[in-house]
């Protein structure tokens, strides 16, 4: 049994193994081959915070492996509403399942869950801190679409101050891969924190994407601003349009963790470089690999 709590828990070898396993899952899915490796296993989905996309992606992954799924998707429908602790809820649900995917708004909740649970915990996002399966699927997407995870020019755009997916991806690139050059594109109020400014990077307020191999777009979120006028001012500051696409490399890719609001013009969707929906698909084989790892891995 192995808990998947933080992207930093992975060794370089485990990274490589997960990506290789995800690739096998991807091939099977592409061939329409039914898998039943986890037949008879139950995955519990405990979402103390709504995230339809992440939940459906996990559920799809488990179903694709022949396993079954139970769980809840909103705190209101759970005993949390009756003031049961997260620890007690996890402990109970562990009695009904073989693996638990958990999401909560409290940073550190997944760590606590892993300490009290008798079955492996997969962190589906805990507050500002971690969302390791998202990072893994982002890396898998880049690997598949660019053919490599070293020697890339990566442009990160939008809310770089609070953007959890951006932080985890930076960390993974810095810790495990070589030759990455970052361009951090953000308004001053949402600039990338110093701890992620490592290796080769440059910061700018302008949407300069001519050199980028990977363009990672993020949404600027309303809830980050105390002052709504500040949000109104910044929300549409960066927008990828067909015109912007024209300035980009022919083999660049545009990613987005979704959902988007208006930061990528829908008219871009038909451009083959815009792979954000494919990225959402890659989440399924990646999570298949991770669920298997959690159930099999030697802890």
């Amino acid at each position: 049994m192995k808990d998947i709590i933080s992207i930093s828990d992975f060794s370089k070898k485990e990274f490589t193994d997960v990506l290789a396993e995800a690739d096998k899952m991807h091939s099977a899915l592409q061939k329409g081959k039914a898998l039943d490796t986890l037949k008879g296993k139950i995955m519990a989905v405990m979402f103390f915070e709504a995230s339809t996309r992440t939940r459906l992606s996990f559920e799809s992954a488990m179903n694709r492996l022949g396993g079954s799924v139970l769980g809840f998707a909103e705190p209101a429908s759970t005993s949390m509403a009756k003031a049961e602790t997260i620890a007690d809820t996890v402990n109970t649900v562990a009695q009904y399942s073989d693996v638990i995917v958990m999401r909560s708004p409290f940073p550190g909740a997944a760590q606590l869950a892993s300490e009290v649970s008798s079955v492996p915990i997969i962190n589906g996002g805990d507050g500002s801190r971690e969302h390791p399966t998202q990072t893994m699927l982002d890396l898998f997407t880049i690997k598949k679409e660019k053919g490599r995870l070293d020697n890339l020019k990566v442009a990160m755009i939008g809310d770089l101050k609070y953007g959890r997916t951006v932080h985890s991806l930076c960390k993974a690139f810095n810790n495990y891969f070589k030759g990455i050059e970052f361009t951090f594109i953000a308004p001053e109020a949402l600039a990338i924190p110093n701890e992620f400014k490592k290796g080769k990077y440059h910061e700018t307020g302008k949407l300069e994407l001519e050199d980028a191999d990977v363009v990672y777009m993020t949404r600027i979120q309303k809830e980050r601003f105390a002052d709504p006028t500040e949000y109104e001012k910044l929300k549409s500051v960066y927008k990828i349009t067909p015109k912007i696409l024209e300035t980009m490399k022919k083999d660049a890719i545009v990613m987005h963790p979704l959902p988007r609001v208006n930061e990528i013009d829908w008219r871009c969707d038909s451009d083959s470089r815009c792979i954000y929906f494919k990225q959402a698909y890659y989440g399924v084989p990646t999570r298949m690999a991770l669920i298997q790892l959690a159930l099999r891995g030697g802890k």
Binding site: T85, I86, A87, P105, F106, P107, G108, L112, G127, R129
Partner: protein, 147 residues
């Protein structure tokens, strides 16, 4: 040598960097109802100036004593019982601090009501900082100690 009343039972923290005694006392939980003698800026051979803290009838949790190293790395702890020195040791910088400090991140799971969880921080040197094992937040220097 200055005359400071000897204590029969309690803890003496010696070789505190000059001027840091009050910070150390605060970390120890303040004087409460016990008798505390503080000597500040005492001339010393080892240091230019040192502070001494004598706490009558007080024995502090070992883990807390080692936290003194974050404020005064060369401090020594003397445990006195029935007028005799029963233990004398330097404080040493822990690699992990469990249970005695509170995380300042209000959203951290360790601050959530009734969850069965004890705080835990890893200690990183240069620059000195404490990192919450749960929420991963980093706290600089001694910011958690006297909060």
């Amino acid at each position: 040598m200055m005359m400071v009343k000897h204590i029969e039972n309690g803890t003496v923290i010696d070789h505190i960097d000059g001027g840091k005694a009050l910070e150390v006392l605060k970390l120890m939980g303040g004087p409460n109802s016990s008798t505390v003698v503080i000597a500040v800026n005492v001339p010393s051979t080892k240091h230019k100036k040192k502070d001494i803290l004598k706490m009558e009838g007080v024995y502090v949790d070992e883990r807390k004593l080692d936290l003194i190293s974050l404020i005064a790395p060369s401090a020594t702890v003397n445990i006195i019982k029935n007028g005799k020195l029963v233990e004398k040791r330097p404080v040493k910088l822990p690699t992990e601090v469990s249970g005695v400090l509170t995380c300042l991140n209000p959203k951290c799971i360790t601050n959530k009501d009734r969850e069965p969880v004890t705080t835990k921080f890893t200690v990183e040197k240069e620059p000195l900082r404490l990192i919450c094992v749960y929420c991963n937040k980093e706290f600089e220097g001694t910011s958690l100690l006297t909060a």
